[in-house]
Symmetry: C2
Subunit: 226 residues, 2 copies
DNA sequence: GCGACTTTGTGCATTTGTTCACAAGAGCGT
DNA sequence: ACGCTCTTGTGAACAAATGCACAAAGTCGC
């Protein structure tokens, strides 16, 4: 095993979760023709502390220059490589309701690294509709769009009720990474990676903090009175 | 300050982030007329370990019965209360493109706890369109829809380029919690809570793990050969 | 009532992540 | 060549989160 691979192997999860943010900030700098950036500046753009940024980057290797900063283009390349974005990953979206359609036309895929290769829906009414360059296909064509041996990411954008069934079908077809937008937890066998994105979860977390804030205000008032 | 409030005060962030998942799992149990559930079962439904679930719940108080489990209705209430969902929070959505519209009609809001009170967009073409029960309003009516003194959650679903401007406007209008769906990091003043949901970030994290997997496979092959 | 059985709640050890503070470099002017 | 200034990279201290294992506390059958 090369040293290089060993270095990649043990990038902490917390760091991996932040790398896309750095990549995006670097993209904005590139668009502004900025050639070099300090950890302080990049950290600000990405919304983290500079110490955290430097430690994160140190897990990838030593790509900065002391006294100067980081070369925007080179760091972009190194992070892309660490994340495995040197080639495009095929993405399949299942569920062409409001959300599925929004996702399909979302610029997020245009970002280098992903390519939507198929849109699926169970509803015969939707099958055949065109969206951008793709035609919506029925569920039973799933096996045809997954290339055996090639890794592929499945996006579940169906109602909660069918999310588990869809996930099972994806796994059976050989998809080993699933992004779940449905409003339910889904179970996947070991070895399959699953991430969940959920509007109401995020709102509820915000609600908690709002409530904490108002609670704190009440307490201050109470203390003043008491 | 009551003991109760003190207990709520120091719920760890990691726990808060998982409470919505428990709440959802409990909702499904309620729908199935299940009255009582063990930590093992509930943990499975929510996709966490039972030890983690029990420790999480222990931060809210002691609402289980040893040897029996948790009362579904009571635990639902306690978690709702801890999250501050005992009354509805008003939500404003800014940006009525594909994503904004999908969010507005998403069932996630129907979940008890939130109520969309306004839809805004900068584009005069969209202003006046109706969506469900609401009419899309121009940006300059923002001040009118935020009730002074009442906490409110703002959802940013605009293109990346205008996200920061929109966030600034929201903050100025008095919104103190922001959920950002735009493909960019935004800066908010201290005291304002901000969370970010991003498709490409999630895809990139999945890509990283896929790449790790394929790397691991290569390494195994190399070891067998060597 | 009492013992067998079940499941919670929690103290403790371990792992993971963050922050601090500074030595080690690298460029620059003289 | 040398010292000055800047910024990285990192060891070490600190904090947060997780997982383990079991005592405490309940139910149930008899």
């Amino acid at each position: 095993m090369s040293v290089d691979q060993a270095a990649k192997r043990d990038i902490p999860d917390a760091t991996v979760a932040r790398l896309p943010g750095y990549l995006r900030a670097l993209g904005q700098l590139t668009a502004q023709d900025v050639l070099s950036v300090s950890s302080e500046e990049l950290a600000y753009s990405a919304g983290v502390s500079s110490a955290k940024l430097r430690k994160d980057l140190s897990h990838l290797g030593s790509y900065g220059v002391r006294g100067v900063g980081y070369d925007v283009a080179h760091l972009t390349y190194q992070i892309s490589r660490a994340l495995g974005l040197t080639h495009d990953w095929p993405v399949i979206i299942v569920g062409m309701g409001n959300l599925g359609r929004a996702l399909a036309s979302y610029g997020g895929f245009a970002t280098k690294g992903f390519k939507v290769v198929a849109l699926l829906d169970r509803d015969p009414q939707l099958v055949g509709d065109r969206l951008d360059d793709l035609t919506i296909q029925p569920m039973d064509e799933l096996a045809d769009v997954v290339t055996p041996g090639e890794a592929c990411i499945g996006v579940v954008a169906t109602p909660a009720a069918s999310a588990q069934d869809v996930a099972d079908l994806l796994v059976t077809a050989g998809v080993s990474s699933i992004l779940n937008f449905a409003a339910t937890a889904i179970q996947v066998p070991e070895g399959v990676h699953m991430r969940k994105v959920d509007l109401s979860t995020e709102l509820q977390i915000l609600a908690f903090h709002e409530q904490q804030r108002s609670g704190a205000v009440s307490d201050e008032l109470l203390e003043e009175i008491g």
